[in-house]
């Protein structure tokens, strides 16, 4: 069927965010990409795009530069320090070389000038996902906290942090669900492969060990307790 634009080669269903103020164009892109087996969210202004990108772990952001509330270039500048590895494909109505260079220098991974071919869009999106996929499944990042699964390595602001295997699994579980609360029973099953027993405080003890290692000495505390629910890693 649609070989040219098919995302079936991806190991998991790619989750895309489209930030486009032109409603018919946004809906067309959403429909076309959904038919290509992508999960797609759409926002129509820069502020909503910023909030959505931070709240969910997207595999790709398709960003129109001409957005209300927060301009696409300003959004790029604000997003890059927070989400340095998120692939961003910029759409622009300006065809001048200077405008495309500005977007790429501003943090975009690729840039397309409207009116573009939908086939070219999906091909470029697929290439970005392919490049990102090899590092995304391996590395996770929240603010300046980085976890590398393959190298069993954790860094905060470039400084190496040594964790025990169990502490590493606790952090991995929290970072896989970054910005979403994780219950004690989820942590128990992920780390110890056992059902949660409310009579023990094993999870809390290990979360404290991890917290002491990743947050101590840093003004921004990333690992937070959600009373009555569990824990969350977030930079909000």
């Amino acid at each position: 069927m649609r070989e040219a634009g098919c995302f079936a080669e991806q190991k998991h269903q790619p989750h895309l965010l489209i930030a486009e103020d032109d409603v018919p164009l946004a809906h067309f892109l959403k429909r076309g990409l959904q038919a290509d087996k992508c999960a797609v969210d759409v926002v129509h202004d820069g502020e909503s795009a910023f909030q959505a990108a931070k709240a969910s772990q997207y595999d790709l952001l398709i960003l129109d530069l001409n957005l209300p509330k927060l301009d696409g270039m300003d959004l790029l500048r604000q997003l890059r320090p927070v989400l340095p590895t998120l692939p961003i494909l910029v759409l622009t109505g300006r065809s001048r070389l200077e405008d495309r260079l500005m977007a790429l220098h501003g943090g975009a991974d690729d840039c397309m000038v409207k009116p573009f071919s939908f086939h070219e869009l999906t091909a470029r999106a697929r290439a970005l996902l392919r490049r990102h996929g090899s590092t995304a499944t391996r590395c996770m990042q929240v603010a300046d906290l980085l976890l590398d699964r393959e190298e069993f390595r954790v860094e905060r602001a470039g400084k190496r942090i040594t964790l025990t295997p169990k502490e590493f699994l606790v952090l991995e579980c929290l970072m896989t669900n970054a910005r979403r609360p994780v219950s004690r029973s989820t942590l128990m099953e992920y780390v110890w492969k056992a059902p949660y027993d409310a009579r023990t405080n094993l999870v809390d003890v290990y979360v404290k060990y991890v917290r002491d290692k990743i947050d101590a000495g840093f003004p921004a505390k990333l690992l937070r307790t959600i009373r009555g629910i569990g824990y969350v890693i977030t930079d909000d």
Binding site: P24, F28, A35, N66, G93, L97, S117, F118
Partner: protein, 91 residues
């Protein structure tokens, strides 16, 4: 590349024309993409009809932008438009 031409200040009217041209790029993107996908995927008469209707809608949006642009260009002093006339009256 003429750098002077790129940095020269633009009149409000030229800015409006450029804005309208940017606006035209939106429906043209949807129009082009709709037809591309129709060629690739549509199988039944209904699917082709749906694609054609969507394409027509977007062609209408693009035409509207084109008309606005034409009106604005006609108003440019170089085209002997209203701006030119008002300038002459002022003199």
């Amino acid at each position: 590349m003429n750098s002077e031409a790129n940095t020269a200040p633009r009149s409000a009217l030229v800015e409006l024309v450029l804005h309208e041209l940017h606006a035209m790029a939106q429906p043209l993107t949807v129009l082009r993409g709709t037809l591309e996908l129709a060629l690739l995927e549509a199988q039944t008469l209904d699917q082709y009809r749906q694609s054609i209707e969507s394409a027509l809608l977007e062609a209408g949006r693009a035409a509207l932008c084109l008309n606005h642009t034409r009106e604005m260009i006609c108003a440019l002093p170089e085209a002997g438009g209203a701006n030119k006339q008002s300038e002459q009256k002022g003199n």
